[in-house]
């Protein structure tokens, strides 16, 4: 294969509140049976990229639990596979990663020991189905130094993203991180293709200058010296940037087109199997427009909801417009509406948890209501 992969799964996300207080966003449960990182790992696997580094530093327990065996994504080979890098504590100046570029620089040996011509850098916090070989092909055709995967969000609010302006030939002119007054609607999706040797040279250069960030110190700073071209991605893409987006992202799976694009068109999304039995629908249940997963036992009403694995919905209970994570129990006659319940939440009989459609409620992991 022509490329190695790098997954940056580092960041803390205070915008995710309780949902990310105990887990890395890459390990966020998504879509009923997946963790966020599954989408990126599956994209690499389907693109034939066999050697992937995952760089991370916060709240790694649940992430490492999930990827402890990499065979589920077809990694775990003799000469390639999934490489996990956390900050190594050898030098006094490398106690942690000081930025995205620094986190790759501290693991530069991975790049130096490889011989693939390209590197695909991406994040583990997105739901997308993309074939990286198309991006690499475009990178070669355009003769780019760096290719940045971009998407035009049209009318949507782009103030939380990296907004780019491009010339008529797709070359990046400007890049503004989280602009207060965005002038463009095209954003960077945080996925890049770059020559392996070029990346090594750039990382060494910026490190000497005490710079640590891939976007600011490489992409933006070198934009006039190097040719950075945008690869426009047209498909479905959403990232876990805050609670409302996380809720929408789960609800998007109720849409048949999204399900088809993410789970079927380019091959399945791989994940660590859990061997749950099929979903049991009782004779008193009423389920519409919802996603359900293995081990669920449904006795009540479920509407417009995403129900993860091993969830029990009691008789007469009503679950509406909600995201219910693995292992939750909704007692008889309880009502849950416009809520996200983290894993193993127990809602007692007859309890009511009603959030606002504009302000989805979140119940923290292992809560008892």
């Amino acid at each position: 294969m022509k490329a190695v992969g790098i997954i940056l799964a580092g960041g803390k996300k205070s915008s995710m509140g309780d949902l990310a207080s105990h887990r890395n966003v890459a390990a966020m449960p998504v879509g009923g049976a997946y963790r966020a990182v599954d989408f990126t790992l599956s994209n690499f696997s389907h693109s034939g990229i066999k050697k992937v580094a995952l760089i991370t530093q916060f709240n790694t327990r649940s992430l490492f639990d999930h990827i402890s065996s990499s065979k589920w994504w077809n990694f775990g080979r003799k000469t390639s596979g999934l490489y996990i890098f956390t900050p190594h504590m050898l030098n006094s100046d490398s106690l942690s990663f000081r930025g995205t570029a620094d986190s790759i620089f501290q693991n530069i040996a991975f790049l130096k020991k490889s011989n693939e011509p390209y590197v695909v850098i991406t994040s583990a916090e997105q739901v997308v189905s993309i074939d990286y070989t198309d991006v690499i092909k475009y990178h070669e055709e355009k003769g780019s130094d760096i290719t940045m995967v971009c998407k035009d969000l049209g009318e949507a609010d782009v103030r939380d993203y990296g907004v780019v302006s491009l010339d008529h030939n797709s070359r990046m002119l400007e890049f503004e991180e989280k602009p207060l007054f965005p002038q463009q609607s095209t954003i960077s999706l945080g996925t890049y293709v770059i020559g392996r040797q070029l990346l090594i040279d750039l990382l060494e250069e910026v490190h000497c200058e005490g710079r640590f960030d891939f976007v600011l110190d490489i992409l933006v700073r070198y934009r006039k010296k190097l040719v950075v071209n945008a690869y426009m991605f047209e498909g479905y893409w959403r990232t876990i940037k805050d609670v409302p987006e996380f809720y929408k992202l789960n609800m998007d799976f109720l849409n048949a087109d999204v399900r088809n694009e993410i789970f079927e068109a380019n091959g399945p999304v791989y994940t660590k199997p859990k061997d749950d039995p099929p979903v049991k629908y009782s004779s008193t249940c009423h389920v519409t427009n919802s996603i359900l997963n293995g081990g669920d036992i449904i006795n009540g009403t479920v509407e417009n909801s995403v129900i993860f694995r091993d969830v029990f919905v009691g008789e007469g209970a009503i679950v509406k417009n909600s995201v219910i994570m693995e292992g939750c129990t909704i007692g008889n006659g309880a009502v849950v509406e416009n809520m996200i319940l983290d894993k193993v939440v127990s809602v007692g009989e007859g309890q009511q948890l009603i959030g606002d459609p504009e302000n989805i409620g979140v119940i923290a992991k292992r809560s008892i209501v």
Partner: protein, 425 residues
């Protein structure tokens, strides 16, 4: 190399001809059960849950689906450096080869495989049964009794005891007599086809019996020779769920029972999980107009219609307006809009066209295979296509790529079979 105390040999080569078209293209152990599982998952999962990590699976009849399903044993954690799962098919040696001609003959032909692990004990299993059993407890019993062979038995109702291999035991559970399908049973302890043997003794018996019978069989030859030779053979009583699923009706009933509120056989048990090779289908989706009741539904299913009292395997599509009741639909099958299905079994990768009605009309026993299709259930085979707008009666079997002209006046009356070319894997 390290010795294995006990290895398992799983007999998975049988057709199960009483399951009719369900086993036309696949061996009985590969038939789907309980939605996402295949029958062989139960004994295989029992092995790993009992701490047995070396399993030889003997295949013969239509092994493709079975061998692909088992692969290198990943779903059962049987992908090991030493041991794990091996599929053992009949082979050629020197310039001659032969099929497995009997259950014991199949083990006889694999003596080298078993010897390579130098086991003290060998567990003989059948790939045809659905149950959960801790074989390590059976081994403890075998050792405690100082037996040469131990046979798992369960009490069956006296009135059907004549359909089983019946063990007559003394007060100490020592087997004193064995009768295959006795007309006047002396006992109601039926053999479950699960045996533990001391390998040394079994090896000797297999070699000796091969000289006498060229279709050496455990029930017919090996067990009687142990008993006649004065060996200590004990019955190991088992009183939990165990199903042979020999017939279409038994298969249908055993599946349906799983949807009960508290089924006799519980799949929702975290401490004795049943593992299977699940494909990576997306989550199941129940649509806006759907109505699902009293059913088990697996991964990847898209239900837009009405599903009542059904077992759906992974990736089944039930289109809008379709009404499916009391039925089993297997993996990758599609039921199109407007269908009305009642009491039928749809095998894998099959498409039922629009407005098809199955299970209508008089309950007439199948004229070609009266012993197979007699319970009112119609069965549609694997890789089959049923064209739009046809009506299929009760006790029917349909297989292959059927088209409108195969159905006289758009109708296949009760008790008829329709098998055409065109179904491929």
């Amino acid at each position: 190399m390290e010795r294995k105390e006990m290895i398992a040999m799983l007999l998975a080569g049988g057709q199960g001809s009483r399951l009719g078209i369900l086993t036309q293209q696949i061996a009985k152990p590969a038939v789907m059960f309980g939605g996402k599982y295949r029958i062989i998952d139960f004994p295989l999962s029992n092995c790993i849950n009992s701490g047995i990590d070396t399993v030889g699976v003997l295949t013969q009849y239509e092994p493709l689906v079975l061998t692909k399903h088992i692969g290198i044993g990943v779903p059962w954690d049987l992908d090991l450096n030493y041991g794990g799962v091996s599929t053992l098919s009949p082979f050629v040696t020197g310039n001659q080869g032969e099929w497995y001609s009997g259950t014991a003959n199949a083990i006889y032909q694999n003596i080298k495989f078993i010897d390579s692990y130098q086991p003290e004990y060998v567990l003989i299993l059948s790939g045809d049964h659905v149950y959960k059993m801790d074989y390590s407890e059976m081994l403890d019993y075998h050792k405690e009794k100082g037996a040469s062979a131990t046979i798992a038995v369960m009490e069956v109702p006296w009135e059907v005891a004549n359909q089983f291999g019946i063990m007559n035991t003394d007060d100490n559970k020592k087997i004193v007599g064995f009768e295959e399908k006795p007309a006047n049973p002396q006992s109601n302890l039926a053999s479950m086809g699960i045996y533990i043997f001391n390998w040394k003794e079994l090896r000797q018996a297999l070699i000796e019996d091969n000289e006498i019978h060229n279709d050496s069989d455990f029930g017919m030859h090996i067990i009687p020779s142990f008993l006649n030779g004065g060996e200590e053979v004990f019955a190991y009583p088992f009183d939990s769920y165990w199903k042979d699923i020999g017939t279409i009706e038994a298969y249908w009933t055993a599946n349906m029972e799983l949807a009960y509120v508290v089924p006799e056989f519980n799949l929702y048990d975290n401490f004795w999980q049943i593992y299977t090779n699940s494909d990576n289908y997306g989550p199941q989706f129940v649509g806006t107009e759907a109505d699902v009741n009293h059913s088990l539904v697996s991964k990847g299913c898209q239900v837009e219609g009405t599903v009542e009292n059904c077992i759906l395997s992974p990736n089944v599509k039930i289109a809008k307006g379709a009404v499916v009741k009391n039925s089993i639909i297997m993996e990758n099958s599609v039921v199109e809009e407007g269908c009305v299905l009642d009491r039928c079994i749809i095998s894998e990768k099959t498409t039922i066209g629009r407005n098809v009605r199955i299970g209508e009309g008089e309950d007439i026993i199948n004229e070609n295979k009266p012993k197979v299709y007699n319970s009112g259930i119609s069965v549609i085979g694997m890789n089959t296509v049923v064209p739009d707008n046809v009506v299929i009666g009760k006790n029917c079997e349909v297989g292959g790529h059927t088209t409108a002209e195969h159905y006289e006046n758009g109708h296949l009356p009760s008790g008829k079979s329709l098998i055409v070319e065109g179904g491929t894997l």
